[in-house]
């Protein structure tokens, strides 16, 4: 009934297994560059926090810890659904794979929605550097730096997630068209690796911005 997976021609590989290995290795090399891409920002964060610790305590208190924690749970859950989607694709369970992919996509959108609500609150509280920043309390200069880092790092993360949502959407379409089966599901697997990586970035962003000093 369902058509067989359309395996794009790739004569350079001995077999499907070698092909999968090469694709996975390539993806991890790309992710290593992403680690360094985000890494310099984390390095900058470390230096600025060392020099402005008190300001970071103030800044962290201005973030919404409830929404941030809920969002972390949403993203961790999306990693579970993504892992199940990749598993389903490998087992040739096309319908289940579509379902898990759609769920992953919706969780990604939920994360972006909640993040948008947070951004809007911070805009209303005039905590957005450049656009609207009117915080006048103690350590104003350091708090400004905290929010620069907050918006650049969470913004770059959100951009990655938007790309992830788009790619997962493409995977839903391709899976429904029957492009994947147990013998070929490399695109789903690589999408999964990317998605989990974006999750890993957030796992570090969360304590650095929301939990600096809550007491």
């Amino acid at each position: 009934m369902a058509p067989d997976a359309v395996v794009p021609d790739a004569p350079q590989f001995e077999d499907g297994e070698q092909r999968r290995s090469a694709a996975t290795l390539g993806m991890w090399v790309f992710l290593a560059t992403e680690v360094l891409f985000f890494g310099v920002l984390f390095g900058g964060y470390a230096v600025i926090r060392l020099l402005n610790y008190d300001a970071f305590v103030v800044g962290s208190h201005h973030t919404d810890v409830v929404l941030g924690t809920v969002n972390t749970a949403v993203l961790l859950t999306s990693s579970l659904t993504m892992a199940l989607a990749v598993r389903g694709a490998g087992l040739g369970q096309r319908r289940d794979t579509t379902r898990w992919l759609v769920l992953t996509l919706l969780l990604g959108l939920a994360f972006l929605g909640i993040k948008g609500v947070e951004y809007y609150q911070e805009y209303q509280d005039a905590l957005v550097p450049v656009l609207a920043f009117r915080y006048q309390g103690p350590h104003a200069q350091g708090v400004l730096l905290f929010f620069y880092l907050y918006f650049v790092m969470t913004g770059l993360h959100a951009l990655h997630l938007i790309i992830g949502v788009a790619v997962v959407g493409a995977m839903v379409v391709r899976n429904r068209r029957g492009h994947f089966g147990p013998e070929y599901y490399i695109p789903v697997e690589l999408t999964g690796l990317y998605w989990h990586f974006v999750d890993v970035v957030w796992i570090f962003l969360y304590p650095l911005f929301y939990l600096v000093a809550r007491v």
Binding site: S21, H196, F204, V215
Partner: protein, 96 residues
């Protein structure tokens, strides 16, 4: 253990669900301990929990636990260079 060259490398769904539960428990521990005044220990806990969560995601969800050594090496390489960046940068700021 070297990975088998079989059809399907994916761990079972059960393992994924257990990992997810562990991740959520760690999240709750992170939020909970953030409200207990422990001084520097708070920072250590925050980062330590984040590292454990990241490792769980990478080893289980990203299959590093069953990947070939060359893939693990590529994964470690990124963090190795990142570690150099942190060590060389912070060596200066921390010892001022």
């Amino acid at each position: 253990m070297s990975p088998a060259a079989g059809q399907n490398h994916s761990p079972g769904a059960r393992q994924y669900v257990l990992t997810w539960v562990a991740l959520l428990v760690l999240l709750l521990v992170a939020v909970g301990t953030a409200y207990i005044p422990l001084g520097v220990v708070n920072v250590g806990l925050n980062l330590g929990i984040a590292v454990v969560k990241a490792l769980l995601v990478m080893v289980v969800f990203m299959h590093l636990g069953i990947s070939r050594p060359v893939v693990r090496l590529a994964a470690v390489a990124g963090f190795f260079w990142l570690a150099l960046l942190f060590i060389l940068t912070l060596a200066e700021y921390v010892t001022r």
